[in-house]
């Protein structure tokens, strides 16, 4: 340490790759490659450090390596109502990539809606982890120094880009219907996450799921509000996953 008083110079931060993180990066990259191949758009969000979202987007749209294809990646502008903007623009098959702390509630609410919107979610962050299942891919660093973490985020999304482009060479593995998971939600009649669009007067509601809009029965749960997340099974809401009103979105 030549300059111990000048953090964060030197040190062993992230010196050696974490095997689990590398596996997570690999899985996320294959998922992104599949979504891009099927025509999906990547939405990039990082409300507290907007430059990260811009960096991810420019990386995919205009790669630094000549000859690499331009991919649709978009930044949700800083200052926009994150959840409302994504709700209006995300299409089934899209991706949402966040660089944010576990405590950023707008990001957490957006990630949680991924399954209802049909979006694959990737959450990059450091420090205290979000709850299990908070996103499809949680790429997390055990690093406290915010500047070192920020440097390693750049490394992580560069690797995501590089690995995604490697996956494009393996066309046999890019079919969107490829299922490698032990349990595939879309292939079975498991509960599906839905976001309530509007509520009818007779214990029914119009909801949005990855498969589109549908009317469901809501008599088994407390009366829902627009914006709530519910679990749908066989045409009925069987649980409330998140109680949020659209009014709260517009705060």
């Amino acid at each position: 340490m030549t300059r111990p008083d000048h953090a964060p110079v030197g040190g062993d931060f992230g010196a050696s790759a974490d095997a689990g993180l590398c596996e997570d990066l690999a899985r996320a990259s294959l998922a992104l490659a599949r979504r891009f191949s099927a025509g999906g758009t990547m939405w990039c969000i990082s409300p507290s450090s907007p430059f990260h979202a811009h960096h991810v987007a420019v990386e995919f749209v205009h790669p630094v390596i000549m000859g690499k294809r331009a991919l649709p990646a978009v930044v949700v502008p800083a200052g926009a109502d994150l959840v409302a903007t994504l709700r209006a623009t995300v299409r089934p098959g899209d991706m949402v990539v966040a660089i944010a702390g576990a405590g950023e509630s707008d990001v957490s609410r957006a990630m949680r809606r991924g399954p209802a919107w049909g979006a694959e979610t990737v959450w990059i962050g450091a420090g205290p982890r979000p709850a299990d299942g908070a996103a499809d891919h949680v790429l997390w660093l055990d690093v406290d120094d915010p500047l070192v973490a920020s440097e390693l985020f750049v490394r992580m999304y560069h690797l995501l880009w590089e690995l995604t482009h490697v996956c494009f060479e393996h066309t046999g593995l890019l079919r969107p219907d490829t299922c490698d998971e032990e349990v595939c939600i879309t292939c079975s009649d498991e509960g599906r996450t839905a976001e309530v669009i509007s509520v009818g007067g007779l214990g029914d509601a119009l909801v949005r799921t990855a498969e589109g809009r549908e009317h469901i029965d809501t008599t088994l749960i407390d009366p829902p509000c627009p914006g709530d997340l519910v679990l749908v099974h066989a045409g009925a809401a069987i649980a409330t996953l998140e109680k949020t009103s659209l009014e709260e979105d517009r705060r």
């Binding site: 300059r3 000048h6 964060p8 690999a26 294959l30």
Partner: protein
């Protein structure tokens, strides 16, 4: 063009296997190798640039103490680094907030200049408007060859604005730019690895400025006390 080669990035991943677990294992191995490579470059660079970072930080700290402000600029990923610089100096996780601005954030200014004159002047023209003697122009590039940065450094020099550049490879044209006083070079030939280490260099520079700025201030306090 349906197949693009990334063999030079990942030389040991072969062809067309349709076995996802084996592809995933190869990808994870590659990611680990790249990660370690980036870590090594980061450490080597911070050691190599240690003395130069100290010099630049001293210059910048004096500018800030004299009421100067920092202008950061770059293209593409480096534009996002310029935003990072502005955010870090003005809203630091610790230490003194210092006046800094990114010259890539105002789309009205950027599009007006690009449309009317050309992208080569987007930073120099803004420095012409805002730059004062004792300010700092910090330009970031991975190639060191961006025309709009070179023009910005020339404009800055004309206005008495101190100039600092971050570059990659062997420094590119920035290394030979007479108007650029300090060129911090991340010696690598991978744009991604350069950018990752430039983020660390920027953070180290910020930390060094903070240390220098405080020490100047306490030096001032000490001399006031001595005089009293």
């Amino acid at each position: 063009m349906s197949r693009e080669s990334t063999d030079f990035l990942y030389p040991f991943i072969e062809g067309d296997e349709d076995d996802a677990p084996s592809l995933l294992a190869d990808l994870a191995t590659s990611a680990g190798a790249k990660w370690d490579q980036s870590s090594r470059l980061r450490l080597e660079t911070l050691h190599l640039l240690d003395a130069q970072l100290g010099e630049v930080a001293a210059v910048m700290a004096r500018c800030f103490e004299g009421g100067g402000q920092l202008f950061a600029f770059g293209n593409g990923g480096s534009a996002t680094d310029a935003d990072d610089v502005a955010q870090l100096f003005t809203s630091p996780p610790w230490g003194e907030p210092l006046p800094a601005r990114s010259l890539v954030t105002d789309h009205a200014v950027l599009s007006a200049l690009s449309n009317d004159i050309g992208f080569d002047v987007v930073f120099s023209r803004q420095l012409e408007a805002h730059g004062r003697p004792g300010d700092i122009a910090l330009g970031l590039s991975t190639s060191g060859n961006s025309e709009n940065l070179l023009r910005a450094f020339a404009q800055a020099a004309r206005r008495g604005v101190r100039t600092v550049g971050l570059s990659g490879y062997d420094g590119g044209r920035m290394a030979d730019c007479e108007e650029l006083e300090h060129c911090l070079v991340v010696r690598s030939d991978s744009v991604h690895r350069i950018q990752e280490t430039q983020a660390a260099v920027v953070h180290a520079l910020w930390a060094a400025v903070q240390a220098e700025y405080r020490s100047e201030a306490s030096h001032e306090n000490a001399s006031h006390e001595g005089a009293a």
